[in-house]
């Protein structure tokens, strides 16, 4: 009965109408709220757009201004790239160590895993307020801890100091995301053949040697995927900065996203063309980073866990 044609593929023989019915709602939404806005942002970037509806074509002027003379943009790019380059190593490194502890079956592993993962689920708005309190000068936990340790001179308003605001936000953000990397690493560890790790156990090499020579090479694909993923996500960072510092003090925490938002919706100048040009540039940077990193890692299979 079932001929070879059926066996050969997973394909349903379907009328065009059926396909259209299944696809139409998704395509309408996709075109209306994703494809069209993307195209329109590109279009906007060539105009100066005033809120009263005045649009005037300015060609590539927005782009030359952003790239050649916008110091805040440069600062925002620098901060965002620094953030994207640093945090992935904290997140993935700590995540891997925690996953190894759980994999080694420490007592209460289940409890630990649930607790360590919880920050991932907390809304960034809440994380932001919470950490702005932890960094508070007078009664924040960090300064209280330093005072208790007799390090009074180290205390400061962590988010109010241009020197420490960015690192402080990076730590707050990694507090949220380490648990995520931990569960992905743990899943990857569980999928490894147990013999290899047992063999290492028998050889009695130190845990550090085991980590560097066995675990990291075996988890290479997962770890690289996580690093790329963390890198790309940090390039979009917005909420945490917006709620805590709004990019301040003195642009020390300005990111590409907060700057675009400011130029589009906060500044009284309210020209939508200029921020669109920034968005286009940043979009191209992100896409180039994704393509570059993926090519670099030559990771062909889909990211799936």
């Amino acid at each position: 009965m079932a001929g070879k044609a059926f066996r050969s593929g997973r394909w349903l023989a379907g009328a065009r109408l059926e396909i259209a019915v299944f696809l139409a709602p998704a395509l309408v939404l996709f075109i209306g709220f994703t494809a069209y806005p993307v195209a329109r942002t590109f279009y906007n970037s060539l105009f100066e757009i005033r809120p009263n509806g005045g649009e005037s074509f300015v060609g590539l002027r927005n782009f030359s201004e952003v790239l050649l003379s916008d110091n805040t943009f440069r600062r925002a790019v620098f901060n965002t790239l620094l953030w994207s380059a640093l945090e992935p190593f904290i997140d993935v490194g700590l995540g891997l160590l925690l996953a190894l502890a759980l994999y080694a079956k420490v007592p209460f592993a289940r409890f630990f895993r649930i607790v360590w993962f919880t920050p991932v689920l907390i809304a960034t708005v809440v994380v932001a307020i919470l950490w702005s309190w932890i960094y508070n000068f007078d009664w924040g936990a960090l300064n209280l801890l330093l005072r208790a340790l007799g390090l009074e001179s180290w205390t400061r308003a962590w988010l109010g100091d241009p020197e420490t605001a960015l690192p402080a936000l990076i730590i707050a953000d990694s507090w949220k995301w380490v648990g995520f990397n931990m569960v992905v690493c743990l899943a990857a560890l569980h999928s490894l053949p147990t013999e290899v790790l047992e063999a290492a156990e028998l050889d009695d090499c130190g845990w550090w040697a085991k980590l560097v020579h066995i675990v990291v090479p075996m988890l290479r694909t997962t770890l690289l995927n996580l690093l790329v993923l963390a890198f790309i996500s940090r390039m979009k960072v917005f909420d945490l900065v917006w709620i805590t510092t709004r990019g301040g003090p003195l642009w020390s925490t300005e990111t590409a996203s907060t700057y675009i938002y400011k130029r589009a919706f906060e500044w009284r100048s309210f020209d939508l063309g200029y921020p669109s040009a920034i968005a286009v540039i940043w979009f191209l940077v992100v896409i180039a980073a994704v393509i570059g990193l993926t090519a670099l890692l030559r990771q062909r299979e889909r990211l799936e866990f």
């Binding site: 997973r10 394909w11 349903l12 907390i122 921020p275």
Partner: protein, 274 residues
């Protein structure tokens, strides 16, 4: 032997330290949410002496918190339901039918998963204003559906494509039509993947701030994350009430987590592509 024991002790203390670091802030907010602001100022890290549960009622009634909460519930529930149905239909079409343009449509939709939101947000604002959807929960819901759609289709398509062909052959022999096949085979068999995307989408949308802050300005239309931010602006000094407000936003997710922790962790990791 002694070395081993020492190593154990070091490991245990490191784990306990990390647990304090990971859970401490959360426990702290929870305890503050039950203390009044004067109590907090007197002893920020003391445990609450008397549990001021009435603060939750106050947050709910004296501020607009009830409104924010229900706005969030309505928008998230509607968006998750729509994105699940629309996404499952599209994924079914892409996974089980062969037609011209299939690869192109898939590639177009999936590639937008990595797009930074900034590339659409300004134009979305303009579009919503033009179509009278700015400052409306309907508009926000539609945008949420569109935002989560690519990832949903991506995850479901991968799963649906792996459903054994035998099931579809049997359906064909039974004379099922196209919609019946979707309804009676793809949906029930694909349920684990669908549940995963539901959880993932719910968490993302419940916590969203960026789209809401751009597309909503009326106080009566604010969702929870916007509400908390406003609450913080209004009651700068009233830390105790802000903590209560934060807990109201976190509790639904934590309850969800308590019941579905395994599936939820799975869902979040499946969304790793984002």
């Amino acid at each position: 032997m002694a070395r081993n024991w020492l190593g154990r002790a070091a490991l245990t203390s490191a784990l306990v330290l990390y647990t304090v670091y990971a859970a401490g802030p959360f426990v702290w907010v929870a305890s503050m949410s039950l203390k009044t602001t004067p109590e907090i100022m007197a002893a920020p890290y003391g445990l609450p002496r008397t549990l001021h549960w009435e603060k939750y009622i106050e947050a709910w009634t004296n501020s607009n918190y009830g409104v924010y909460f229900w706005n969030s519930v309505i928008v998230c529930a509607a968006a998750v339901v729509i994105v699940t149905i629309v996404g499952a239909m599209a994924a079914h079409a892409l996974a089980r039918y062969r037609f011209r343009g299939r690869r192109f449509i898939g590639a177009a939709i999936f590639s937008t998963i990595i797009f930074p939101p900034q590339i659409t947000i300004i134009a979305l604002f303009q579009i919503m204003v033009e179509y009278n959807l700015y400052d409306s929960l309907t508009g926000l819901t539609l945008v949420y559906v569109a935002v989560q759609l690519p990832l949903t289709v991506y995850l479901l398509e991968a799963f649906f494509a792996r459903i054994p062909e035998v099931l579809y052959e049997a359906a064909r022999i039974d004379g099922y039509g196209g919609l019946e096949v979707f309804w009676k085979i793809t949906l029930p068999v694909g349920f684990p993947a669908i549940a995963t995307t539901i959880i993932l989408n719910f968490i993302y949308l419940w916590n969203d701030f960026l789209y809401a802050v751009v597309l909503i300005s009326d106080d009566q239309k604010r969702t929870l994350p916007l509400g908390i931010q406003k609450f913080m602006g209004d009651q700068m000094e009233d830390i105790g009430m802000i903590a209560t407000a934060m807990m109201i936003a976190v509790i639904p997710v934590v309850v969800f987590y308590a019941f579905f922790s395994e599936r939820l962790i799975q869902g979040m990791t499946a969304g790793a592509v984002k």
